[in-house]
């Protein structure tokens, strides 16, 4: 019995590791390919379409100023640009700050969303913004984002070039990565996520998922979909799936970069990640049972991936952890022997080398202290992730059982020196 658990956990863990290994390879190949393609973007502005940038903001006084400033800095013809800040029932100075900028710049608009229409979370705010916008292409930024000046332009050019793409996703980087150990971990995590999951999936399967910020999507597609799903906790994952289901795809370009603020305290990180995890579990629940109804089977790969990550991989790692601990105290007389230790060490080495490869694709990220952080991450951050997943699973299960309403938790911002 024990052996059965051991073998099955090893198998699931390693199947997932192989999948990740495969994705990482795709990410690497994509980076090579992209360097060659990216040299030839047009300089002509006349054919650029009208773009509406939606920025939902709820109590964002700490960060909104920088965000608006970065909008001003955008290298995009201002007559073709419409920035819509949806001030979603803020109790702080967000309203006044945004109004101030709106009066100064014509292309900046503010919608003050008050009860009873307010407080429906990010999806609700985005839907309000969408109704008020006029752009042919909709771009979304979170209120804590400071995109690089060419980010929107790169997103739009990609959409123009690739008519079949319904949306295009850029890359996000961590602005406060040097703040503390947690933000350093998050920095490494986001870089790895984008090269492994985003670029890797894009390269092999032409699948990317919308990360909630720094993406452009055609208005026509949004209208066809009827906007964002207000019930979804992770509106981005949900939207991605619906886009794919329509028969479109989402492309990934690493040249559209935005810098965003990441949680600086564990408590905030925990709340934010719980929301994401619960959101993803919601998506799995929603689509897994209606699996056969999905028109585009390609997205099934992603759903299965989610399913594997959230249930099997998690289960596998848990069992493996439990067995590891139990084996310190009891002798199960397992016949598996040496290979289990070899796999244990190799699993760790794979993690480290995969992350290092991802870091090596970003300028200035491959240095000695990051090597130390990667090793530490395996023992600390990854294990925290495990706890978080378990917690989220329980929470989501409870919610389903008691049919609780979704409450949207807004990530707390930090005032900081922006570099």
């Amino acid at each position: 019995m024990i052996e059965f658990f051991l073998y099955s956990s090893l198998f699931t863990i390693w199947l997932m590791l192989f999948y990740h290994l495969f994705l990482m390879l795709g990410g690497y190949l994509f980076s090579i390919k992209h360097q060659q393609v990216n040299r030839s973007l047009p300089k002509d502005d006349t054919s650029l379409p009208i773009v509406s940038i939606l920025i939902p903001a709820h109590n964002e006084e700490m960060v909104i100023k920088e965000t608006i400033k970065s909008m001003v800095r955008l290298q995009y013809p201002k007559d073709k640009l419409e920035v819509i800040i949806i001030n979603d029932n803020s109790m702080d100075a967000t309203g006044t700050i945004t109004d101030e900028y709106a009066s100064k710049y014509e292309f900046i608009n503010v919608i003050h969303n008050k009860p009873p229409f307010a407080g429906r979370g990010k999806s609700g705010a985005l839907n309000v913004g969408l109704r008020q916008s006029s752009g042919e292409i909709i771009v979304v930024y979170d209120a804590d984002n400071t995109p690089e000046p060419d980010a929107v332009r790169n997103l739009v050019l990609e959409l123009q070039k690739d008519q079949k793409a319904a949306a295009v996703v850029g890359k996000f980087r961590v602005i406060n990565h040097n703040k503390n150990l947690l933000t350093r971990f998050i920095n490494i995590e986001t870089i790895t996520f984008q090269w492994l999951a985003q670029a890797g999936r894009w390269f092999w399967f032409k699948i990317t998922s919308i990360p909630g910020t720094n993406f452009a999507i055609r208005r026509s597609v949004l209208e066809e979909l009827g906007g964002w799903d207000v019930k979804a906790l992770s509106e981005d994952t949900e939207l991605s799936i619906r886009v794919y289901n329509l028969g479109h795809y989402i492309s990934f370009i690493p040249t559209a970069v935005t810098w965003e603020q990441e949680p600086e305290t564990f408590r905030v990180w925990w709340k934010q990640r719980t929301r994401w995890a619960c959101g993803n579990i919601y998506v799995i629940q929603k689509y897994l049972l209606r699996f056969h109804k999905l028109k585009r089977k390609r997205i099934v790969i992603d759903l299965i991936y989610f399913l594997l990550t959230y249930f099997l991989f998690l289960g596998g790692i848990l069992i493996s952890h439990i067995l590891f601990v139990l084996r310190l105290f009891f002798d199960f007389n397992l016949s598996i022997g040496l290979v289990s230790y070899v796999l244990l060490i190799l699993g760790f080495l794979l993690f480290v080398t995969e992350v290092l490869l991802a870091l090596s694709m970003e300028k200035g990220q491959l240095h000695r202290s990051n090597l130390f952080h990667v090793v530490l991450m395996y023992f600390v951050y990854s294990q925290l992730w495990l706890c978080l997943m378990l917690y989220s699973l329980c929470k989501e299960m409870k919610r389903t059982l008691f049919k609780q309403e979704v409450t949207w938790y807004k990530t707390q911002r930090f005032k900081g020196k922006l570099d």
Partner: protein, 584 residues
């Protein structure tokens, strides 16, 4: 549905793969045979309550070397027709008795070879008119054989019957007993009539009687130049044995080109934790045993757990309850109340009770033999013979075992009342109470670490058995004693002259269960396994193979994972170089 089908077909492919795995193993060497003309022997006996006990069985073992066709009958029940087809008639007067007139008459008219042993022979009148019956007690301490009258073989004083020879001319004395300066005729012949002046044929008498029996069956006994079959048996090889010791010994034997036996116990029971360990828990041992099987070793099943109650494997008795000195008529945790006929109201109740006991023992032995054979065969280890733990087993046990095995190795328990009554024949034999099984007797003992003289004693025993023509020289060794002790032992064994080490594979053996059929012949082992049935009978059998495959896959994972690590390091270094080049 489609997917399900695919899965099913995968499963069948897998089973088919297992079924077609190569099943035969080859090796070399040759061997001599015995009973060529298989005479019919009838043994008529006088005993307490006309029952067959250890005395008759000892004679059975000695005769079994010359024939597989031996019939025992009490003197009161002999009929004329029993004699009609007999090539040899034996009478064993182990108990004093007035013999039936009819029987005496049959003997007097019988023309074939007649051998009388022990009491009552005077009643045959003129057949033994060359003998003067003096008394029932005499003691001897030395024996000489007819073909070498000057060579005296000493031993502890042993009782025989005291006779004198009245007529010297036609009488040959095959064996003579000596006490101090006095001589006692012990085994003598007048034409085709023989007399053995002893009521029991225990060791050491059995050695000389065995040799003299060659005269009875028309062959000449040992002349000290013939070769002797022998074997070395590695004892008590269970799943917790150190594979290194075993491998060390296996390599020595392979190098010396000495074939040998391995007494294997499939399950080790920890006496403290009661945990059971199987060979599947020690892949290293399975590998070692397979190496041995390919390089001169032959596997002998040595019980299933080598214990009954909670004793340790290798220590306990499996087919005998030593606490109550009785066969396994009950479960291990059952309280044992021994009942006699007086405890029952009717005879049929008592018979019913006996029947239940026998049935219990039967299913107990059957289960353990089946499991033992099938479990080993599932690993690819093919037992060719059986050896009961501590050589203890009831008469019914031998009968049941004969349904599974054609060869038995070791010594035989001769009494159903006391396990301590056991003996080995001095040569290979097929006594009737083994129901067709051939006995490869163990004759010289084992290397006892407690006894500094153990090796000397073994050599002494070996020399004693070389007195007998075809006398067996066989002993055993516990591998836990280590490679060095084994070196010493094997060096001593090699000094023994004229030994032909038995390779079990070269002889004919047949081992059978419902799902497994193992045949050995001329160096080849042929195995037929009904794998489907085997896998259905216990999940463990299939899971062993599945695990082996899974383990291989996991190693495959490790190789791919290792390569990926190397590849990632390489790509990372390339990326770093690229940035350096671009000046980022």
């Amino acid at each position: 549905m489609g997917q399900k089908k695919r899965k099913m077909s995968f499963y069948f492919c897998f089973i088919a793969l297992l079924i077609t795995m190569p099943l035969s193993i080859t090796s070399v060497q040759a061997k001599d045979s015995m009973q060529e003309n298989n005479p019919k022997i009838i043994v008529i006996y006088s005993s307490v309550n006309e029952e067959i006990d250890e005395h008759q069985r000892m004679l059975d073992m000695l005769l079994g070397h010359f024939s597989t066709n031996i019939t025992f009958k009490p003197a009161s029940q002999v009929k004329e027709m029993d004699f009609s087809q007999a090539d040899y008639v034996f009478y064993y007067g182990q108990q004093r008795e007035i013999l039936p007139e009819s029987f005496i008459k049959m003997i007097s008219t019988y023309k074939g070879t007649f051998v009388s042993i022990g009491y009552n022979a005077y009643q045959f009148g003129e057949r033994f008119d060359n003998i003067e019956w003096i008394s029932n007690t005499a003691e001897i301490e030395r024996i000489t054989q007819m073909n070498n009258p000057t060579k005296e073989h000493p031993f502890d004083p042993t009782s025989i019957l005291y006779i004198n020879i009245t007529e010297d001319e036609q009488t040959e004395i095959l064996l003579t007993g000596h006490m101090k300066k006095k001589e006692y005729p012990l085994f003598l012949r007048k034409q085709n009539t023989y007399y053995l002046a002893a009521t029991t044929i225990q060791h050491p008498l059995s050695i000389f009687v065995a040799n003299a029996l060659y005269e009875v069956f028309g062959e000449s006994p040992a002349m000290n130049v013939d070769t002797h079959p022998g074997y070395i048996r590695l004892e008590d090889v269970h799943p917790m044995v150190n594979p290194n010791h075993l491998m060390g010994i296996a390599k020595i034997l392979a190098e010396k080109n000495i074939p040998y036996m391995i007494a294997v116990i499939p399950v080790y029971t920890n006496p403290v934790t009661k945990e059971q360990h199987h060979f599947s828990d020690s892949p290293e041992l399975i590998k070692t045993l397979k190496f041995m099987q390919k390089n001169g070793g032959s596997i002998v099943l040595h019980g299933y757990t080598h214990q009954f109650r909670l004793s340790e494997t290798g220590e306990g008795f499996e087919f005998w309850d030593t606490e109550n000195n009785m066969p396994i008529y009950h479960n291990q945790d059952e309280e044992v109340i021994i009942k006699t006929e007086d405890d029952f109201n009717t005879v049929s109740d008592y018979e019913q009770y006996l029947h239940e006991q026998k049935t219990h023992e039967k299913s107990y032995i059957e289960e353990r033999l089946t499991k033992g054979i099938e479990e080993l065969a599932n690993y690819g280890l093919y037992p060719l013979a059986f050896e009961a733990p501590h050589y203890t087993m009831s008469q019914q046990g031998y009968q049941i075992t004969s349904k599974y095995f054609s060869t038995y190795v070791g010594q035989l328990q001769l009494s159903d009342q006391d396990w301590k009554v056991m003996a080995a024949a001095p040569y290979i034999t097929t006594p009737s109470f083994l129901h067709g099984m051939q006995l490869l007797p163990e004759t010289i003992g084992y290397v006892d670490p407690e006894d500094p003289l153990a090796l000397d004693k073994m050599i002494q025993n070996a020399k004693e058995h070389q007195i007998v023509r075809n006398g067996m020289v066989a002993g055993f060794f516990h591998p836990y004693l280590g490679v060095e002790v084994f070196q010493e032992f094997i060096q001593e064994m090699e000094k023994l002259p004229n030994i032909n080490w038995i390779d079990l594979k070269e002889m004919n053996h047949n081992v059978q269960t419902e799902h497994v059929d193992i045949q050995a012949k001329e160096g080849n082992i042929t195995v037929n396994m009904k794998r489907m049935g085997l896998f259905m009978s216990s999940w463990d059998y299939l899971s062993y193979h599945l695990k082996a495959i899974l383990l291989k896959m996991l190693w495959g994972f490790a190789v791919i994972g290792g390569l990926a690590v190397l590849a990632f390091v390489y790509l990372t270094l390339i990326n770093r170089k690229r940035y350096v080049k671009r000046g980022d």
